[in-house]
Amino acid sequence: MNQEDLKEIAEKQKEANAPFEHNIHVCVAASCLSSHSDQVMTALDQEVKKRGLEQCCKVKGVGCMGLCAAGPLVSSGNNEKMFQNVTAMDAAAIVDNVVDEKPAPAAIVLDSKLPFFRGQKKIVLENCGEIDPEKIEDYIAVGGYEALFHALTSMTPAQVIEQISKSGLRGRGGAGFPTGLKWSTVAKAPGTKGKYVICNADEGDPGAFMDRSVLESDPHRILEGMAIAAYAVGANKGYIYCRAEYPLAVKRLKDAIKQAEKLGVLGNEVCDTRFSFRVEVRLGAGAFVCGEETALIASIEGNRGTPRPRPPFPAQSGLWGTPTLINNVETFANIAPIVRNGGDWFAGIGTEKSKGTKVFALAGRVTNTGLIEVPMGVSLREIVYKLGGGIPDGRKFKAVQTGGPSGGCIPEQYLDMAVDYESLASVGSIMGSGGMIVMDDSSCMVDVAKYFMDFCMSESCGKCVPCRVGTAHMYDLLAKITNGTASQEDLAMLERIAEVVKFTSLCGLGQTSPNPVFSTLRYFRDEYLNHIERKSCGAGVCSQPKAAGVGA
């Protein structure tokens, strides 16, 4: 396999796709599949065959188109036409519309000109909804693996790292550490016993499904990014640590690895060079803390998935004690485009300190829930009101929660703030991996804090004292506040424990677990006081707060 072979595959696949006058794309990612898009696809296939249109109309399963709330989604002709909430019964109407230009029933027509679609800039998700995730040829036809071959044949590892550094890409897993710097640290670390590249696909924030969509919709993109990274840092073994709750992603990854090895874009002597790179998928057993890199490493090693103090950082001593590069799914998904188009191109997108785009999982009380990819620096207002279509049922916006359980709630006064790493941090939240939950006035912020604390308490690994015991106490205190039995002293204790947990916990999970409490206290303290002093919940969520009980 060399670059010529790759081009040939690409040409062949393009030709194979070309003769079709009409293309019908059906989303076969988990969200649409769960509402039976597989049946839709079968019905469309049958309909096309029934009408003898096999030669001019092709039905193809593709990855996520983003507007998951309206799924199953079907699109046609470069997404000119889109259909929502499709069932198998709609197959005939869709073929009628696509092939014969007959009007489709209003209920399934989705306006492809919606700001939700037009307001996005897709780099990470550019192939999602376009290519068949189960066919490597389809990926190659859109330029897949070109970047890897380009890197292997005409760039030194140092040059690859230089482009990544130049791009300004920062880790998309949460902390936003400069990716180029991470790569160069691993590259420089002496690796006499080998080095490893790990893709962190243990996405666990409640309401976040960015990584799942990428893995299901474009698995080869991740493999290509990992291979480029391996070449750059001098590794020849990689692991994808994917949570077992994503069976479809795991299956597609495993299939993709097989296909890639068969074609020779992974495995021994990639692209007829001396570079070899093998990838294995490891399943996470559903522990949130295994998204923390040292816990993740412990888990791959077969140990209990608990974090350890850093330093040493994985870049110096990671998996099996060797230098290890760990990046998140979305980070790896950005690599091929950066190598293909150059670091400067990427650095031209986004803000001064936050480059490129960010994928967000838009969820909660917003009209259009789903996946969006926007350039860094767009405002929250644009995301919530333009792409998200605003708050449904005529209710009032209250806050948007970013960054998952480690993040914070951002109130209305910051809606015009640009979304980037620094701005989010400045208002007490974080970028995190990209979960974005919109809340309206039917949400009680103390209840929201309690929800996230429940999550952190249940997901604490139990290794360090402040996180293990502190989160349990914070949860109890929040429960006391929501059920109307708390006093001012309880609030003071909550703040005191939160401070200790923040500053003394061992890993990021513990250190950030009080964030939802801090941010809700910062912007919605009156709601806490309302529960404590007047025993009432403004949003009506904490129904019938009890009067102070005796010795409960």
């Binding site: 209990r304 004292v465 015991v469 106490h473 200790v500 500053f503």
Partner: protein, 240 residues
């Protein structure tokens, strides 16, 4: 046997100039110089895990608090081991431990010989301000010589480490998450039915509290003998 060449670093701990080998931790250097840093999960002879967070210290120029047991010395480091903030945090952490399970000192076999109890005293804790959680924890008395009382366990995992690292049996491990976490023998079978336990008793001796004790000991009678540990490590690894 020391490595062929070791660099010597100089640093300040609580304003005092001290010298250290580059491979030493802040805790080791502090102890050598008679500077007290409280610890709970640390025990000389076992690997450090940095889990109890009692030994956190402040290092000038570093925003985060660092565990002295795993943080290596650096040239010119300025370490504060006993600031008011640290004292306050340590108190809260120990209070959290007392609140977590059922530490009834007055009826405990280790009363008077307990690391947790004496830590509270050293830190000047006269009461626990956070509410007691009082979970229902089991007691495993199935072993013919020893008892495991989860009510008194602080999850320092000294037993896990000594069994794995020194005895080589790896009978102990941890199961469950968060406050559900507990130490177990084998695959969560009764201690007395363990296939791997050699009944050496090292776990009992390193346990900081009355969680692991010898049978037949009454209140205050269980004092632990830990002197063997550094020697065992020395014999095994030929380490200085």
């Amino acid at each position: 046997m020391s490595p062929a060449s070791v660099e010597i670093k100089t640093l300040k701990i609580d304003g005092r100039d001290v010298g250290a080998r580059e491979d030493q931790t802040i805790l080791e250097v502090a102890l050598e110089n008679g500077i007290y840093i409280p610890t709970l999960c640390h025990l000389e002879g076992l690997t450090e895990i940095g889990a109890c967070r009692i030994c956190l210290v402040e290092v000038k120029g570093t925003p985060k608090l660092l565990p002295a047991c795993v943080t290596r010395v650096q040239e010119g480091m300025e370490v504060m081991v006993n600031s008011e903030r640290l004292q306050n945090y340590r108190k809260v952490i120990v209070e959290l431990l007392f609140s977590e399970r059922n530490h009834i000192c007055s009826v405990c076999v280790s009363n008077g010989h307990c690391d947790l109890q004496s830590m509270a005293q050293k830190l000047g804790i006269t009461h626990i301000s956070v509410p007691y959680r009082h979970p229902h924890m089991p007691v495993d008395a199935s072993h013919e010589r020893y008892i495991n009382d989860h009510n008194r366990c602080i999850l320092c995992t000294r037993c896990v480490r000594v069994c794995h690292e020194i005895e080589g049996a790896h009978t102990w491990d941890v199961t469950g998450r968060g406050s559900q976490a507990k130490v177990i023998t084998d695959l969560n079978t009764a201690w007395g039915e363990s296939d791997t336990c050699t009944s050496c008793g090292k776990c009992v001796q390193v346990c900081p509290t009355g969680a692991l004790s010898e049978k037949g000991k009454s209140v205050s009678e269980m004092s632990k003998r830990r002197q063997f540990l550094p020697y065992l490590t020395l014999m095994r690894e030929g380490r200085p």
